[in-house]
């Protein structure tokens, strides 16, 4: 790691004044700036150890008071502070009882040690694990180069949809569950105001902006993630398939949130992770389930529809079969 100075911020304002760029902009040679914020610090440290970023100053936002609470309101839903750790979410009984897909996604993420350190906001802000992106030797599209090395290279773990530009997949499997719940991010702006960004608009596809995976700009800090209220007819489930049962990134992961009336589905939200460069909704699968009974056959039809537009690369067609299988299982788990 390069050497750098350290600033322990005690307010958002201080952090916004001290930091002058984002991790993503630091990876972009055209942008200026040398100080970045960190909270749990896992991905920042990882990128630094790999020599991908070399900040001159780290602004620590881990100790800013008020960002580490989980608040629950029967009408507004659950508000998870940006600095809440993944472990705190995993162990929270309100989340376990009402937002099962989120609890499952968190409990399958990373390792117990990393969950004790990682924050929910940092998990959403982390950069892709594509091994070409993570290698200083490879000047890939996302880092300002002119080639996607995965396209004709080792693409076993890459995107099976929307992979015409960059073929990486987003690293957060928790985002898959948050997308299915329709979470909203609260972001503090530099002028002291706050904006709310639905998670669907938070992630940026490589077609829109190859150098960023989310909309965060320098001076903007996520302060909370809000999940809308659920009722006793809301059921959810999440399945992640990795190469190993223990610690591993998702080869494929799916989250399903349905509103049921008996066994009939009134409304469905289905999200796919590790399928596309950003977590995506499976709209065609949702349409098949809406106003239908949840059964073996409707679940199978929805799973097929979710993968209809798949365009796998040379080495990752196996992921299409995994998606179909785990989506069908996850849908059936809601009843």
């Amino acid at each position: 790691m390069n050497n750098f100075s350290w600033y322990d911020a005690t307010t958002l304002k201080e952090a916004q004044n001290e930091a002058d760029t984002t991790v993503s902009d630091m990876l972009n040679k055209d942008k200026k700036g040398s100080s970045i914020i960190k909270s749990g610090g896992i991905d920042v440290m990882d990128l630094m150890k790999e020599g991908l970023i070399t900040p001159e100053k780290i602004v620590n936002i881990r100790n800013i008071p008020g960002l580490d609470k989980i608040e629950f309101d029967t009408k507004k839903g659950v508000r998870i502070g940006a600095n809440v750790t993944l472990s705190d979410i995993e162990k929270n009984s309100v989340i376990r009882d009402n937002y099962q897909a989120l609890q499952l996604s968190v409990s399958k993420a990373a390792t117990p040690q990393l969950r004790n350190m990682s924050t929910i906001a940092g998990n959403l802000g982390q950069r892709t694990r594509c091994w070409y992106f993570r290698s200083v030797e490879h000047d890939c599209l996302r880092k300002g180069g002119s080639t996607c090395f995965a396209k004709n290279g080792e693409n076993d773990y890459h995107a099976v949809m929307n992979n015409g530009s960059c073929a990486s997949v987003h690293a957060s499997s928790i985002a898959t569950a948050l997308l299915a719940f329709g979470a909203v991010l609260e972001i503090a702006l530099e002028n002291g105001e706050k904006k709310e960004v639905p998670i669907e608009n938070f992630f940026v596809t490589p077609y829109e902006n190859i150098k960023n995976e989310n909309v965060l700009k320098s001076g903007e800090i996520i302060t909370a993630i809000v999940l809308p209220a659920v009722n006793n007819k809301t059921k959810s489930y999440y399945i992640k398939q990795g190469a190993r049962q223990s610690y591993d990134w998702a080869l494929a992961d799916v989250a399903v949130v349905v509103e049921l009336s008996g066994k009939k589905c009134k409304n469905a939200r289905i999200a796919l992770g590790a399928a596309s460069p950003v977590p995506i909704r499976a709209n065609s699968a949702e349409s098949i389930l809406t106003n239908e009974g949840i059964s073996e056959s409707s679940a199978k039809a929805a799973a097929e529809a979710a993968m209809e537009k798949a365009t796998p690369l040379e080495k990752n067609a196996y992921k299409v079969a995994i998606f179909k299988s785990i989506l069908q299982r996850a849908i059936l788990k809601t009843v």
């Binding site: 790691m1 390069n2 050497n3 750098f4 100075s5 350290w6 600033y7 322990d8 610090g41 896992i42 440290m45 990882d46 630094m48 150890k49 001159e56 100053k57 780290i58 620590n60 881990r62 100790n63 472990s87 409990s107 990373a110 390792t111 117990p112 040690q113 990393l114 004790n116 350190m117 223990s246 610690y247």
Partner: protein, 206 residues
């Protein structure tokens, strides 16, 4: 604490020798005061510290230790290189193997992915701090009884993970043990013995 260091350094060790070019032996460094360790005294003028060496105090295994670190030092480096607590192993240095597991305020973390600056006044417990009055922790005894180590490199991390599990959950199932050690890699493949040892230790503690 400086005296401790001298005593340890009297013996010629490979590690001490290799450390020769390192941070602590530089003669002309200007030391800054760590903001996190000194917040209570409120004596710090600028909140920016580093990039050079920084003096901090850290509570490790119940004792307050004075350390000279840099903002880029990881907790694993600080423990191993500064206070010679080499029981904490550095293997992958990326949070992928958990050989470096220590407790910070009783929570297991990867020391290799923790900035030493982030510890502040929280309490660190390493593998060296588990035994009490010379008596091994029951999980350490159980690892010996059940032959749960081979090369031993993952062992301190495995013990810190499983000892924490027993603190949180005195009656773990096999699944609980597996979940608690999901991040701990053992390339020798001692997992079945680690699981047996943990379940046996749980029974013994009761």
């Amino acid at each position: 604490m400086k005296d401790d260091k001298k005593i340890i350094k009297k013996g010629v060790s490979r590690r001490g020798f290799l450390k020769g070019a390192g941070l602590t032996t530089a003669g002309t460094i200007v030391l800054q005061t760590g903001v996190l360790a000194k917040t209570k005294e409120n004596s710090v003028q600028s909140k920016t510290v580093g990039p050079g060496p920084v003096n901090v105090e850290m509570n490790v295994n119940g004792k307050t230790r004075s350390l000279t670190i840099e903002p880029r030092s990881t907790l694993a480096q600080a423990l191993r290189d500064e206070i010679q607590l080499t029981g904490t192993k550095m293997v992958c240095d990326r949070g992928a193997c958990s050989a470096c597991t220590v407790w910070v305020d009783d929570i297991p973390v990867n020391a290799c992915m923790t900035f030493a600056m982030d510890v502040g006044d929280r309490k660190v417990v390493t593998i060296e701090g588990l035994a009490e009055n010379g008596k091994l922790h029951p999980i350490q005894e159980a690892f010996i009884d059940h032959d749960a180590t081979q090369c031993g490199y993952c062992t301190p991390g495995m013990i810190m993970s499983t000892a924490h599990l027993l603190k949180e959950n005195p009656n773990p199932t096999l699944e609980d043990v597996k979940h608690a050690t999901r991040g701990n890699y053992c390339r020798c493949g001692t997992y079945p013995h680690v699981f047996k040892a943990t379940l046996a230790a749980a029974k013994k503690i009761k």
